[in-house]
Each structure stands twice: as C-alpha cells, then as structure tokens.
C-alpha cells in the first residue's frame, strides 16, 4: 500500500521512539503517520482522562485538546495518575499538559480552562477528529454527546461507579449515540455518585485505557470498535460482559444544543441562576453555623453520611449518625420542637434529608442544612480536621 502523501512525515527520532508500533503490521509507518496527523479532544483530566491522555501522548497522537476547569486536589491522586503530589492546587489542564509534554514533546497540546457548555462546545470540539468523554456528570455527558452528533464526530465513552465501568463508542459510522442508550438522564438524587459511593482508584485506569485503545483503533481504522456494543466491567468479580447497543427508532432528534443543567434538573456550575425560594428548610453556611453555636444555639445535629465516612471524620458535637436514604426510619426519634442541623460531606445529601423531613411534616423553620457539609467545616472553620 502506498502511504498517503498528505500524512505528516516522521523524524528519525520519532521513528526510533515509535519502533514497537512501526514493526506492527496493523500500525506501521502509515498508521504512525495517521496518529501524528490525528487530533483528539479529551473532556476532563480526572480518573478516566489521566491514563487516556498519557497513552495517547505516548502513542504519538499529534494534537491533544484538554478541557477542564478544576484544580488538583489531594483526594484526586488516588486515581488521577497524570497529576502528582507537587501539582496539588495547580490547574489540572496545566498539570496534565506538563505531564503529556514530558512523556512526548512531539505532542501539540491545546488547553481549554473552562467548563464545556452549550455556548463553547461546538467551537472547542470542531477542530478535532475524535472526542473522548472523561467527564463525571450527566449534563456534560449529554452535552458532549449532542455536540458530537451535531459535528459528526465519534464520541469515545466510559463511565464508572464503585467497582463497575461501562464503555462504548458513540456516533461512529452511523452507529448509536448516548441518547439511544439512555434517552433521558436520571433525576438528581436517584443515582448515587462516586463522591457519595466511592470508586476503586484503578477502575477509571482500566476504563480510560479502554477509551485510549478505542481512540487509537479509530485513528488507525483497524479492528472492531465498541460501536454498537456496551462493554460492562465488574472489577470486584473481574468480569467483562457485552450488551447490544442499537439506534432507537424513536430516539430524540438532536438539532441544537440545549440547557443541559436544566435538562438534567441540576443547578448549573456557573452559579449565576437565582436560588429558588426555599420552603423546606434554611441553608446555613459553616461560618454562620459556628457563629450561632458560639452564641449558644443548641440544635439537634444529624449527620446523614454513611458509617464509613463518619469513621474518617466527624463533628464532635454531632448527636446522631444515620444515612440520608433511610432517614424516615428514624423520623419518629427526631425532635420536632427544636432546630435540627443536618449535614453530610458536601451538603447535597443533607439537603435531600431536609426536603424529605419537611415533606414528612417537620416544621421547615426548624430544619437547617449546613451548606458545604463537613468538607467546608474542615476547610473553613476547623482546619485540624481532615477532608476526604
């Protein structure tokens, strides 16, 4: 086969670097030059994005775009291996770019330090051949999917929970997309998140490597991709299973990008929308909580996290620990004539608990949700406490 003359040439140093690829029939000079010509956008530099970006860089992908607006936190390092201890507090796109360029200086890295949204998604993704979804939330996943459909680009997908991962390739060669698999997102609160449920650190490593493999196969045009198949991985029992994935006859037509936070029923990250009038409880900051406690406020303090979280760190003035999903089991034992201050890790589960109790007839004037949870308390009020 005559190599495509439009593909970029490899330098002698690149030929040496990629020698194990060049002697593979399925890659060879032609394939390696395709990799060098390829442009891949990765949304997120977290658990999935970390190994993915490192392998794409090592494999010789010519241009990599990375989208993330987060900074490296110590709790990321258990799984986000592209970042290191020295990068704590550093912007993830910067930390990831530095690591990529250390692995392979031939790689061109474009960074986008902003949340992907309906206004910027098409513009950011348009220059790339393939998009890899390494995000961690439903609104961005639907946004990435719809943008890929509108732009006609393959979307290499994986998601994770605890010990379980799902992976596939969407919108490739007329194949199904995310909305064929799940037409609608779950309402908030009905599906537990990794922040609540935890995740085995190596799980996104396995799933991110599967995404990297699929991305490279698409670039090379070799092998069978996961398009049309949903791969399930169960790390705990070490089982892979495969399910069929097809275009839904009545799948929603995607004609434009929408407000995905509204679509998913969750508050936006930009925080510019007006907070709704609360009728179920009062949101109280950790500073105000501290101030009022110092002034003699004596609420009943209810921790709605799981046992194993309370073992990591607890407030020493907590009265009761009971997980938020089973809050109604202890409703009869909670005081009805005094204030109840409810907290969890970040403030989400405790808000749900407030809402459930208000619906069950507790006086909303007595219900307080400690905004930001014990993490905010540990970082803003009592810095002697660990965060997780």
């Amino acid at each position: 086969m005559t190599p495509n003359p439009e593909l970029p040439q490899l330098s002698n140093s690149e030929i040496s670097r990629y020698s194990r690829h060049l002697i593979l029939d399925e890659v060879g000079m032609e394939g390696q030059r395709k990799l060098k010509a390829a442009k891949v956008a990765c949304i997120g530099t977290g658990g999935l994005g970390s190994p993915l970006l490192m392998y794409l860089a090592a494999a010789g992908v010519g241009k990599i775009g990375i989208v993330d607006f987060d900074v490296v936190d110590e709790s990321n390092l258990q799984r986000q291996i592209i970042h290191g201890t020295d990068s704590i507090g550093v912007r993830k796109v910067i930390s990831a770019r530095d690591r990529i360029l250390d692995i392979n200086p031939n790689c061109e890295v474009e960074i986008y330090e902003e949340p992907l949204n309906s206004e910027n998604a098409l513009k950011i993704l348009e220059p790339y051949d393939i998009v890899v979804d390494g995000t961690d939330n439903f609104p961005t996943r639907y946004l990435v999917n719809d943008a890929c459909v509108l732009l006609g680009k393959p979307n290499v997908y994986a998601s994770i929970f605890k010990f379980e991962g799902q992976a596939t390739v969407f919108n490739y060669d007329g194949g199904p997309n995310y909305r064929d698999l799940y037409p609608e997102p779950p309402p908030p609160g009905l599906v537990p998140s990794c922040a609540e449920g935890g995740v085995l650190g190596i799980l996104p490593g396995v799933m991110g490597c599967i995404q990297a493999t699929e991305t490279i196969k698409i670039i090379l045009g070799k092998g069978d991709t996961l398009s049309g198949r949903l791969l399930l991985y169960d790390a705990l029992n070490m089982r892979f299973r495969e399910l069929k994935l097809r275009r839904l006859p009545d799948s929603p037509v995607i004609s434009e990008l929408i407000d995905y936070y509204q679509f998913c029923g969750v508050p936006g990250l930009d925080g510019h929308e007006e907070p709704a009038e609360l009728t179920t409880h009062t949101e109280i900051s950790v500073h105000e909580t501290k101030l009022r406690l110092d002034e003699g406020w004596k609420p009943y303090v209810l921790d709605v996290r799981a046992d194993h979280e309370a073992q990591i760190v607890s407030l020493d003035f907590s009265d009761r620990l009971h997980p938020h999903r089973q809050i109604m089991e202890i409703a009869d034992e909670l005081p009805r004539d005094k204030d109840i201050l409810i907290h969890c890790k970040m403030g989400g589960r405790s808000r749900t608990a407030c809402e459930v109790l208000a619906e069950a007839g507790f006086d909303p004037r007595h219900l307080y949700n400690m905004s930001g949870g014990i993490v905010a308390w540990a970082s803003e009020v009592d810095r002697s406490l660990p965060t997780y």
Binding site: G47, S159, P185, V191, A195
Partner: protein, 93 residues
C-alpha cells in the same frame, strides 16, 4: 421459570448487596415484579410513579435490550438471565 437477575452496583444497597437474585416469572415484567416484591425499596429506582420502567434504566435479556424485543412482555425461559443496567455518570451526581 427460574430467572437470574443481575443487579448493578448502584442498586445493590436495595437488594441486601446481592449481585444476582433468583426470581420466578414467565415474562420480563413478572420477573421484575417478583424482584421488587422481594425488595420493595428497589421499586422507585426501576419504575416511575406510573409504573413505567425509568428511561435511565435499561433491561437486557441475555445481551439483547428488551426495547428491541417485546419490552416487558418479552417471554423468558427457565434459566434466562436478565441484567439491569442503569445510567452512571461518575464523580458528581
């Protein structure tokens, strides 16, 4: 008809952490109803208020999506395997 239903990790808190549950039933609907009568707390995660399967929860008979069979009316044979596969996003909810 004895049917095994694979329970995904996010729903195992509602099945006493069991990963696979054996149920009886001649159709997908009967098998799922048998599951939710044993584990009533699972019900609201599988069905909406109108009793319809939620759109972010897929059910597979073997490796086939029941939406491409007869949905919940799909007949199941003795020893069949059903899988419940919910939508998962990752870090944030």
């Amino acid at each position: 008809m004895s049917i095994s239903i694979h329970i995904p990790t996010p729903l195992r808190p509602y099945t006493d952490t069991q990963a696979t549950v054996q149920v009886e039933g001649a159709t997908v609907a009967e098998a799922l109803n048998s599951l939710t009568s044993t584990f009533p707390k699972l019900s609201k995660h599988l069905r909406d208020d109108a009793g319809k399967l939620r759109s972010f929860v897929n059910v597979y008979l073997g490796d086939e999506d029941i939406r491409f069979l007869e949905n919940e009316s799909t007949e199941v044979k003795d020893g069949a395997e059903l899988s419940i596969v919910p939508s998962i996003a990752g870090g944030l909810s």
